[in-house]
C-alpha cells in the first residue's frame, strides 16, 4: 500500500496545471462571459471516465478536478465529466463522445421550486443537477438569464424538466468535493502570496502571528480534505465496503473548509479583499456555488470502518 502519485499521474497533473495557468487566468472571470472549454476538451478532460476499465482512474480524475477548482473553472466541467460517464454506462456511446468532444455542452445546476438554476449555461440543452438529495440528468430547456448574486459566471433559470433520470451520486460527490478542495487551496495560495508582499508597520503582514495562524488554519483544512479525497477516491475506485462512508465524510468536510478558507482569504486581504478588484471574493462565490451542487450526505446513517470490537465473549 502506498499513497504516492505515480509518474504518470504527476505528468498529467503538471500538464493540466500548465494549461490552466496559461489559458484560464482568474481575470477571465471579470468579463461575465460564459467559459470557453475548448482547450480542456482538447486536453481530453471529459473523456477520462470513458477510457474503459484500465484507463478509467477516478483518483486521477478527482485530482484533475481539484486543479480545475483551483482555477475556479465553471461547474459545467463537472456536468460534462459526469454526463459523459453516465451516457457511456447507459450504453449510449454516441452521446458520450459528443459530450466528451464538446459538441454537446452540459451544464450543472440545482433545482429550486419548480425551476432549475443552471450555472454558466447559455444555450445548454442538457444538464446534471441536484434536486434535494437526488442527482438527476437529462435534457433541459434553454431558459432566461438570471443575475448571479455579486456577479461572476452567468446563471440561467429554466423550468425543471419532469421525469428526468436519476444518477448515482458517488462520482459526482467526489468530483464536486475535489473542486471544493481546489477552491480551498486557491484561497490559501492567494492569502500566503498576499501575506508575503503586503507591508504594514514596516513588515510584511505575514510576519504577524494573527495572519500566520489564519494561514496555518487554512493549510490544516486543505491537508485534511486532500487526504480524505485520496481515501474516498481509492475506496470508490476499488469498490471497497467503506466507499460510501468515505465519500460522505468528504462531502461533509469539503464545503466547510472551502467556505472557511475563502472567508479567511477575504479577511487577510483587508479592504481590497472586500473590493471587487481582488480575487478573494471570486473564490468565496465559487465555494458557495459548488456547495449548492453537493448532495447532503447523511454520514450518521453509514457504518464507520473503524468501529470498536465487541469483546464480551
Amino acid at each position: 500500500m502506498n499513497l504516492d502519485l505515480s509518474d504518470e499521474q504527476s505528468q498529467i497533473l503538471d500538464a493540466a496545471e500548465a494549461l490552466l495557468q496559461a489559458e484560464y487566468p482568474l481575470s477571465r472571470l471579470r468579463s461575465g462571459a460564459a467559459e470557453d472549454l475548448t482547450r480542456l476538451v482538447e486536453f481530453g478532460l471529459f473523456g477520462l471516465g470513458l477510457a474503459g476499465e484500465d484507463g478509467s482512474d477516478l483518483l486521477t480524475e478527482a485530482l484533475l478536478h481539484a486543479r480545475l477548482g483551483r482555477h475556479l473553472l465553471t461547474p459545467s466541467t463537472l456536468a460534462a465529466a459526469v454526463a459523459a460517464r453516465l451516457a457511456a454506462q447507459a450504453g449510449d456511446d454516441a452521446l458520450a463522445s459528443r459530450i466528451a468532444d464538446g459538441a454537446l455542452p452540459v451544464s450543472a445546476g440545482v433545482a429550486t421550486g419548480g425551476d432549475l438554476l443552471l450555472c454558466d449555461a447559455p444555450g445548454a440543452t442538457m444538464a446534471v443537477w441536484r434536486e434535494g438529495d437526488t442527482l438527476r440528468w437529462g435534457p433541459c430547456d434553454s431558459g432566461a438569464a438570471a443575475p448571479p448574486a455579486g456577479g461572476g459566471l452567468p446563471l440561467t433559470r429554466t423550468p425543471r424538466p419532469a421525469g428526468a433520470a436519476t444518477a448515482p451520486s458517488a462520482p459526482w460527490q467526489l468530483l464536486v468535493a475535489a473542486q471544493l478542495l481546489g477552491t480551498a487551496e486557491a484561497a490559501l495560495d492567494l492569502s500566503v502570496a498576499y501575506a508575503r508582499t503586503r507591508e504594514q508597520f514596516g513588515r510584511p503582514i505575514g510576519a504577524f502571528q494573527a495572519i500566520k495562524h489564519h494561514c496555518a488554519d487554512m493549510a490544516l483544512g486543505v491537508a485534511m480534505v486532500s487526504a480524505q479525497l485520496d481515501f474516498a477516491a481509492l475506496a470508490l475506485e476499488a469498490g471497497q465496503e467503506d466507499a460510501d462512508f468515505q465519500i460522505a465524510a468528504l462531502a461533509r468536510l469539503a464545503p466547510r473548509i472551502a467556505l472557511r478558507n475563502a472567508r479567511m482569504a477575504i479577511q487577510i486581504h483587508g479592504g481590497i479583499g472586500f473590493s471587487d478588484e481582488a480575487d478573494a471574493h471570486l473564490i468565496l462565490k465559487q465555494a458557495h456555488r459548488l456547495g449548492q451542487l453537493l448532495l447532503p450526505a447523511d454520514l450518521m446513517a453509514l457504518d464507520a470502518p473503524l468501529t470498536p470490537l465487541n469483546r464480551s465473549s
Binding site: L3, A219, M300
Partner: protein, 376 residues
C-alpha cells in the same frame, strides 16, 4: 496510489485482531503509582513474548521491522480492541530513547539499553523542558561541566513524564561553557539512581501524578553516555522528536476514530438533532484525521514539518471529542470517573510536545514560507 490490502495484509490484520482480542487487558490500568508501572511493563512483556513489541524497530535490535502499512493495520486493530494506551511509562523508551539510540547510539549503548527497553526492564523519561525553557527549548541552562571522562551536571528540569518511575533519562544539557541557543548542547543518558538527583512529582489537573520536576546537584555522568556527539545535542534531540511524530502519534491518532465511534454509540442522538450534527462533524473529521495519518506514513516526500499538520489536527479534535463526552454526562460530570479524567487530561494535547501556537508558527513559517519570527 493504492490502498487495496493484499491477502497477506488481511491475514496480518486477522492475526493482530485475534491476538489482541485474546490478550489485551480488559480493564483500564491504574493511572499512577506502582500499579501503573506494573501494568505497563506486564503488558509490554506479554507483547514481547508473543513477538508484538518493538514493531517499528529493526530486527537486528530485537524489533519486528514492520513496514509502515503493517504498523497502521496493527494500530487500527489495537485501537478497535481498546488495548492500553501507548502513552504509559514505557512510552519514552519505546518511542523516543530507543529509536534515538538505534539511530545514533554507540554499539555498547545499544547492546546494553535496547533489550532492556524492549522487555520493559528499564523505564525511561525525557528531560528537555526547564522552568525557563519550554516552547523556547534552545534557551535551556542545565549545565554539564566536562571533568576528564565525566560530566558534572547541575540544574533543573520540569514536566518530565514518568520521571518518578524511570531508570534512565534522555537529558539535554549545555556542555559547552558560554554557548548559546542550539549550539553547545549534549544529549546524554542519565542514570536516574545517580547521587545528586532529586525527583519531585507534580500532580496534574486531572489529579494524576505522572510528571515531575528533577533537580541535579553535581550529578556525575560518564562522557561515554553522550549520544550523537558531545556539543551536538540539538541534532540528536531533533532526531528524538522526529520519532515521536511517527509510530506513537500514529497509534493515538487512529485511536481517536474509535473513540468517536464509542461516543456516537453511547450518545444515541436522535437523527437530525443538533447533537447528531455535532457528532457527524466529529465523525467526518476523525475520518479526515485517519486519512491524514495514513498519508503521513505512506507518502514519500513532503517537508520534515508536515507532521505538525497531523499532530495539531489530532490535538484539537481530541479535545473536542473529550469535551463533548464530558458535556453529555450532565450533572454526573461533577463526579470523578474515567470520562472526566480523560477530559481533563486532554487539555495537555495542545501543550505537550509543542503547543498549538508553536505548531501553527511552524506550519506558517516552515511549510507555507511566511517570514520567521524575530528571535532574541
Amino acid at each position: 496510489m493504492d490502498l487495496t490490502p493484499s491477502p497477506d495484509d488481511h491475514r496480518f490484520r486477522q492475526r493482530a485482531r485475534d491476538w489482541l482480542g485474546a490478550n489485551a487487558p480488559r480493564h483500564r490500568a491504574p493511572a499512577g503509582g506502582a500499579g501503573a508501572r506494573q501494568a505497563a511493563t506486564a503488558w509490554l512483556a506479554r507483547c514481547h513474548a508473543a513477538g508484538w513489541s518493538g514493531l517499528a524497530w529493526p530486527r537486528d535490535w530485537g524489533g519486528q521491522g514492520l513496514s509502515a502499512d503493517r504498523l497502521l493495520i496493527w494500530y487500527e486493530e489495537y485501537a478497535r480492541t481498546g488495548a492500553p494506551s501507548p502513552l504509559d511509562c514505557t512510552f519514552v523508551g519505546l518511542h523516543h530513547a530507543g529509536p534515538t539510540l538505534i539511530a545514533l547510539g554507540s554499539e555498547a549503548q545499544k547492546a546494553f539499553h535496547l533489550p532492556r527497553i524492549l522487555q520493559g526492564q528499564s523505564i525511561w523519561c525525557q528531560g528537555f523542558s526547564e522552568p525557563g525553557a519550554g516552547s523556547d527549548l534552545a534557551s535551556l541552562r542545565t549545565s554539564g561541566r566536562v571533568e576528564g571522562d565525566i560530566l558534572v551536571v547541575n540544574g533543573q528540569k520540569i514536566w518530565s513524564s514518568y520521571a518518578e518511575d524511570a531508570d534512565y533519562q534522555e537529558l539535554l544539557i549545555r556542555t559547552e561553557p558560554g554557548s548559546a541557543r542550539h549550539r553547545g548542547l549534549s544529549w546524554v543518558i542519565c542514570d536516574m539512581r545517580a547521587p545528586g538527583i532529586t525527583v519531585r512529582p507534580i500532580a496534574n489537573m486531572a489529579g494524576e501524578t505522572h510528571f515531575a520536576e528533577v533537580f541535579y546537584d553535581d550529578v556525575r555522568i560518564p562522557l561515554s553516555n553522550v549520544v550523537g556527539g558531545l556539543h551536538n545535542g540539538w541534532a540528536t534531540a531533533m532526531t528524538t522528536l522526529g520519532f515521536e511524530r511517527k509510530t506513537a502519534a500514529m497509534a493515538l491518532q487512529l485511536d481517536l476514530s474509535v473513540r468517536v465511534e464509542r461516543l456516537i454509540a453511547e450518545a444515541g442522538a436522535a437523527p437530525g438533532s443538533a447533537l447528531a450534527e455535532t457528532l457527524a462533524d466529529l465523525r467526518a473529521e476523525a475520518a479526515g484525521l485517519r486519512a491524514m495519518t495514513w498519508r503521513s506514513v505512506l507518502r514519500e516526500g513532503g517537508t520534515p514539518f508536515d507532521g505538525s499538520l497531523v499532530r495539531l489536527t489530532f490535538a484539537e479534535l481530541a479535545q473536542r471529542v473529550h469535551r463533548l463526552a464530558a458535556e453529555l454526562l450532565g450533572p454526573e460530570s461533577l463526579l470523578q470517573g474515567p470520562v472526566m479524567t480523560d477530559y481533563f487530561e486532554s487539555y495537555s494535547e495542545t501543550i505537550a510536545g509543542g503547543t498549538a501556537e508553536i505548531q501553527r508558527n511552524i506550519i506558517a513559517e516552515r511549510i507555507l514560507g511566511l517570514p520567521r519570527e524575530g528571535r532574541a
